[in-house]
Amino acid sequence: MNTNGDSVATVEGLVHRYGDLTAVDELSFSINRGEVFGLLGPNGAGKSTTISILSCILEHTGGRVTVLGADAGPNARSVKARVGLVPQEIALYEDLSGLDNLKFFGRLYGLFGTRLGQAIESALETVGLADRAADAVSEYSGGMKRRLNLAAGLLHDPEILILDEPTVGVDPQSRNHIFDNVERLNAAGMTVIYTTHYMEEAERLCDRVAIIDHGRLVALDTPRNLIDSLGGGVIQIGISPDKRTSAEAELLSLDRITSAKPGPGGTLDLQTTGAQHALVDVLNALNAHNIPVESLRILEPNLESVFLRFTGRTLRD
């Protein structure tokens, strides 16, 4: 992390609707200069819509979004010149060579002559494709296309790099290559906005993570703090409403249970010092008082569990 505290993007009460569908619903957060900011959520959570608005290719229907001090929107050309977008799809021209693709996108960012040549050379070096630049993109593997996709977003040395699910469908080697690139670029001072539905990516790369579900912000913190909020893990237990109060009193008296609060879908979330061991104590206590268990789930301390805890669903649901 290389943050210096000032904000490069602010989202306040962001709303975006596609007809009757509300894709983003009152979303608010800010992104600090130099951080890797993760947008974590399942498919359809509103991540791509949010970053489309942040990268000024989509006009939002409500709220306010400022990027690099200016209002975001399709006409914010000064913002676009300072932001690099790496879209989820391989947005390249398959019939052209890698080099020709980079020349095209570089020119759209106002690069010509020596500056363009240097920018292409640097971008190809970064993604490790210098030796394949002359080949047609159609001849690249999926991972190589992803890397070239990334290179095209780096040509103009943007202050903010927005990566939308950059590792979808790539082999482990290319995935690691992309991780290394993100870490290296961030270490050099570039702010990175990274969307993913892979928790391990967010845990590895992101300084802060905004968890989004159904277009709403569910949680926002560092991955460590979000995971720590689960303590030694959470037992999510379903008990019929008429027995919930008495069960809660019994369970809170157990040594390995540190707190109990309502969870999604009428469940009871039990914070533990160690979920596996606490589970035996919980089941014994409920059996002793003839309280039937309707559902049971153990949330290990990771971002997946954080999401599950807040939404009652997994990231891949």
């Binding site: 010149a81 799809e89 391989i90 947005a91 021209y93 759209l108 106002g110 095209a152």
Partner: protein, 416 residues
């Protein structure tokens, strides 16, 4: 198995009914063709009295005999002779010539001043040599020989028959007077020489086929000069499908969405995407004319003027391609609607059949098609021998079409 066949059949029908492009191609396109072609060719088929050919005739100062010939022509099936304007003032020779030059008519006839007097001169009637009287048959050079020749023959036949009858009767009357025949003998003699066909005398009228004013080309261009512009104009508009394929491919790959993330204006994108197709379209025409020149020795007459028209036409065609691409939602729609529009406009504009043989009411409708302006300009150069100044108006109209189409494209441009 019947259930499977039923399920597949129902599914296919549902998919088909949702495919507007296919519905359009299979149902709307043939209907549109049948209706428009039938309307356009309604004057070519059916009895001639239903759709007479309009011929303006100048009988200004030509006398009673010319008026009489005009009346006979008018009464003949297939001709509609006009020799007075709305106020009843006879057309002048200049007026009818200009009308052909302007493309209002394909033909006109001018009887020279003193026509009747010259033909009824007693010396001529008695066989004296008084030279020939020339009747001008003004023909638009763009009219084909197959159309012109029968009409000219018919006109010549009427003139010849009328004058022949007149000369037989009038010449005999003159002779009778010189012989001072008694009345009863005179009556018998007159009855004996009642009008009949002219026989063994030299016909004193020459029908001369001439160009309208300011047209310097020879009459009747060859088939290449007729066909190359027509098909060049028609096929240049097929750039619409090429542009649509390119843009929809770019949209589906997400590349255009990515372009939107760059600091490039929509105007720059539309113009940038149009220019290469403009160049390709221009080259397409250049190649067609070059092949016609080198392969078939077609006279290009005025190459700079052809290039100017081609530039305007390419702008209109690529502009239309860009506009259709941005008005429709799918590539299939661009294909079916685009091709239908191209063919209908090509037909209305005269690329397939000359506008001049369409019903009068339909001819102005053809002016909606940019193809008609391009075709007129090409024919002005190739057939009528005009230079750049002569095709400037049509070219400017083509440029205006291109500008309007591009403006709509910019307004309706979609990245996704």
């Amino acid at each position: 198995m019947l259930h499977s066949i039923y399920a597949i059949t129902v599914k296919e029908l549902r998919v088909f009914l949702k495919d507007l492009g296919s519905l359009f191609t299979l149902f709307v396109m043939p209907l549109a063709f049948i209706v428009i072609f039938s309307l356009a060719l309604s004057d070519v088929y059916g009895p001639p009295e239903d759709h007479p050919i309009a011929i303006p005739i100048s009988v200004d100062g030509a006398g009673e005999l010319a008026v009489q010939i005009a009346a006979i022509l008018d009464s003949a099936d297939g001709f509609n002779v006009v020799h007075n304007d709305a106020d009843g003032v006879p057309f002048t020779a200049q007026f009818v010539a200009d009308a052909v030059a302007a493309g209002d008519y394909q033909f006109a006839i001018v009887f020279p001043s003193g026509f009747t007097h010259a033909l009824t001169d007693p010396a001529r009637l008695l066989g004296g040599g008084a030279g020939f009287v020339t009747v001008e048959f003004i023909v638009d050079p763009a009219a084909t020989l197959q159309v012109v020749a029968p009409i000219q023959s018919a006109v010549a036949g009427v003139i010849q028959q009328t004058i022949g009858q007149m000369m037989n009767a009038a010449g005999a009357e003159q002779l009778f007077r010189l012989l001072e025949l008694p009345d009863d003998t005179l009556a018998l003699a007159r009855a004996a020489v009642q009008p009949g066909p002219a026989t063994s005398w030299s016909f004193p009228v020459v029908i001369q086929r001439v160009n309208p004013p300011n047209v310097e080309r020879e009459l009747f261009p060859d088939s290449y000069q007729q066909n190359v512009p027509g098909y060049t104009v028609m096929f240049m508009f097929f750039i619409v499908t090429v542009i649509a394929a390119s843009v929809f491919k770019e949209r589906s790959s997400g590349a255009l969405r990515r372009v939107r993330a760059t600091p490039v204006s929509r105007i720059a994108i539309v113009i940038g995407k149009t220019l290469p197709f403009f160049a390709i379209n221009f080259l397409q025409a250049v190649i067609m004319f070059t092949v016609a020149r080198l392969g078939f020795s077609m006279d290009l007459v005025n190459i700079p003027a052809l290039l100017v028209v081609t530039a305007g036409l390419s702008l209109a065609a690529t502009g239309m391609g860009s506009m259709i691409t941005n008005l429709v939602r799918t590539e299939a729609q661009a294909g079916s609607i685009g091709v239908l529009l191209i063919l209908i406009l090509a037909m209305l504009g005269g690329s397939m059949i000359p506008r001049s043989i369409m019903p009068e009411a339909m001819q102005p409708i053809g002016l909606i098609a940019p193809q008609s302006w391009a075709l007129t300009a090409y024919q002005d150069v190739l057939v009528r021998g005009f230079g750049i100044a002569g095709i400037l108006q049509e070219t400017l109209i083509l440029i205006a079409y291109g500008a309007i189409f591009l403006a709509v494209s910019i307004f309706r441009f979609r990245y996704e």
